[in-house]
């Protein structure tokens, strides 16, 4: 494939991406674009970002050989990139630090964020506390009910959590509400988007901040596994952990990139979040991408046992990677993800997030048919502490 240099200056990844927002937001996005272009290559900015990743997040996160599980499966060797070991428990913090550092440099004393499961909200609240920024997190009122513990964590960290009552009262509506806040308070507010979606420059900027994941893997794999992997596997909701690990691997032609979407209760039931494999292109939240929508162009409600994958769109770069066949996208059901979750707990002593369990499930599905010297690298994007309640309910385990 040609040297990869996307997005273009208008934020387009082929036909996807772009700046599909109301005029009221354009000035703020232009400003952000200019500031990011300035700081992206600024030595002091990069040094501060790296310092924070090392001393506040605990990077680099290790690459771990799931030796016992690989042997049990009898095929490819499975490695985990341990983003679950980051401070706050997931990859989300990488991006939040990058954007919060920009907010500081732009002199914005207030940050806002949308959150679904609460992981991005917690990461934003965390970094806002660390930098002394006012923090407001928008969260669908349904999610507030489902994720009470994360709401409490955000409050402990000093953030205000605003339950969003509009639409389906979930992540997409929280994003709408955060955009409305931003339009209204654009002078003093920085909007920290949590995934590789939204209007340009967010998909590019979030990818860049998250690509520390893949860059570390490229350095770590030769040492840990002797070479680069045959495939990199990551779950895809909005797609930030996947872009973070995929992006540096794009030039590595021999490494397959596999994104795993949530098939929920099964694709045939319609209750899923598989935007790339089941959606059609359209425009939502500032970018053109694959969307789950009805025939009239209304966005439909999605389903996944993991709230972090429960989103009707997907980052536009994934849409491009799908169409260009550089990455392939598959889906895993709730039940398959839960089985992988339990197996991972019992076999490897690691409690993964339900989101990451989708990626793990796919790896364990394909590993047995592969040769023993083949290598699968799975982005274990978060830890499962937040999912105890969901798993206990679903699996009938005693909670107390």
């Amino acid at each position: 494939m040609n040297p990869y240099d996307l997005p273009d200056s208008h934020g387009h990844f082929g036909p996807y991406g772009g700046t599909f927002v109301a005029e009221t937001l354009i000035a703020a996005l232009e400003d952000l674009k200019a500031q990011y272009a300035k700081y992206q290559h600024d030595a002091a900015f990069k040094a501060e970002f790296e310092h924070e990743l090392k001393y506040f997040v605990g990077r680099p996160s290790p690459v771990y050989h799931a030796r016992r599980w690989s042997e049990l499966l009898g095929g490819a060797q499975i490695y985990f990139k341990r983003e679950d070991l980051n401070h706050t428990g997931a990859h989300k913090i990488n991006n939040c630090i990058g954007q919060a550092l920009l907010a500081k440099r732009l002199g914005k004393p207030r940050v806002i964020a949308e959150t679904g499961a609460g992981q991005h909200g917690v990461a934003t609240a965390t970094i806002a506390a660390r930098y002394g920024l006012e923090c407001v997190v928008y969260m669908g009122s349904e999610d507030v009910k489902r994720q009470a513990q994360n709401v409490y964590r955000m409050k402990l960290l000093g953030a205000s959590v605003v339950p969003v009552e509009s639409g389906s009262k979930t992540l997409k509506d929280a994003l709408n509400e955060a955009l409305r806040d931003w339009v209204t308070n654009v002078d003093n507010t920085f909007y920290i988007i949590g995934t590789v979606a939204g209007p340009h420059p967010y998909p590019m900027m979030v990818r860049d901040f998250q690509s520390v994941i893949g860059n570390e893997c490229i350095a770590q794999m030769p040492e840990v596994a002797g070479r680069q992997p045959d495939a990199v596997i990551a779950c895809v909701g909005g797609g930030s952990n996947a872009m973070g690990i995929f992006y540096p691997y794009i030039p590595y032609d021999k490494t397959r990139l596999i994104g795993v979407e949530a098939a929920g209760e099964g694709i045939a039931t319609g209750k899923h979040s598989a935007s790339l494999t089941q959606g059609v292109p359209g425009v939502l939240h500032g970018n053109r991408t694959y969307l789950l929508q009805d025939e009239d162009g209304q966005i439909i409600e999605t389903h996944s046992v993991s709230a972090g994958l429960d989103y009707p769109g997907v980052g536009p770069e994934h849409a491009y990677l799908k169409d260009s066949h550089r990455a392939e996208y598959v889906s895993i059901t709730d039940d398959e993800a839960l089985k992988a979750f339990h197996d991972c707990c019992r076999i490897e002593g690691i409690i993964p997030a339900l989101e990451s369990s989708h990626a793990i499930a796919h790896a364990t599905r394909i590993a047995p048919s592969m040769a023993k010297d083949q290598i699968l690298l799975v982005n274990l994007s978060g830890r499962g502490d937040k999912d105890m309640h969901t798993v206990a309910q679903r699996s009938g385990l005693e909670w107390k």
Binding site: T19, A22, A27, E30, S166, G167, L179, G297, Q298, I299
Partner: protein
């Protein structure tokens, strides 16, 4: 000549400011929209903006959000909106109708197919909130090819370069968003709006309308003193839902009081 252009030309001759009501198609009832459009035309609407409901109206405040949700719950779709315009045109061939909404319902039909259907139905202009000029070249060309006006928003934060860009693409009128926020929000700084509108008028060859946050006749009159058009949306939509059984009548009544205030 496009109905929007002839309407503004006639208003200019009469030295009057255009009054543009916005209603959401399908709210408060699927069958209230057509009689409401007639009532609005009767009450002095110069152009009617017909909102196409969308599941994710990110530029709208609570009043229009709820209105869109109600309309969608009742089964309103873009295709049905076009049907309403067609019915309206069977008895009204003079009042321009502008569709206002978001990109995705249009993309679901396909831009070119939508433009053909809109022209056939008797639509005069289209304002797509999330098609800013940099994403609108193709769509604007399609609209203009059928004699429909691409209508754009301008904001307090729009730079002179952007105003110039919009000036090149815009037909019909431009819609100046009078405050930093969503539809139906806060309080207007009329002096600030006046300054900005003067700058836009100097740069843009089409009439300049002002909307977002105009709630009553008094504000409409003040804005109308310097703008070419005044848009009223949230306040009207709220009045209609407050009196759902008589929505059309209520809309007409509301608009006449604004018209009277503006003209006196």
């Amino acid at each position: 000549m496009n109905r929007i252009d002839s309407t503004f030309a006639a208003l200019k001759t009469a030295k009057k400011t255009a009054l543009i009501p916005f209603i959401t198609a399908g709210d408060p009832a699927l069958d209230s929209t057509l009689p409401t459009m007639h009532a609005l035309a009767q009450a002095g609407a110069d152009v009617i903006e017909l909102g196409v409901p969308f599941s994710d109206p990110m530029a709208d405040g609570p009043v229009i959000q709820r209105s869109s949700e109600r309309a969608l719950a009742k089964g309103m779709t873009l295709r049905k909106v076009l049907g309403i315009v067609r019915d309206f045109r069977s008895t009204n061939q003079t009042t321009p109708v502008v569709l206002m909404g978001y990109a995705n319902p249009i993309e679901a039909i396909g831009q070119a197919k939508f433009v053909d259907a809109a022209e056939a139905a008797g639509v005069d202009g289209v304002l797509v909130v999330d098609y800013p000029p940099e994403e609108a070249d193709e769509f604007s060309a399609l609209l203009q090819g059928k004699g429909l006006a691409p209508i754009f928003l301008l904001a307090p934060t729009s730079t002179p370069e952007r105003i110039a860009h919009v000036a090149r693409l815009a037909r019909g009128y431009v819609y100046y968003v009078s405050l930093r926020g969503v539809t139906g929000a806060g309080h207007l700084d009329v002096d600030d709006v006046q300054q900005k509108v003067a700058a836009i008028k100097a740069a843009v060859p089409v009439p300049v309308g002002v909307g977002f946050g105009i709630r009553d006749g008094a504000t409409a009159k003040r804005i109308g003193a310097f703008a070419d058009a005044v848009v009223i949306g949230s306040a009207l939509v709220q009045a209609m839902v407050d009196d759902t059984p008589n929505a059309a009548q209520r809309a007409g009544g509301f608009l006449s009081t604004v018209r009277t205030a503006m003209d006196c």
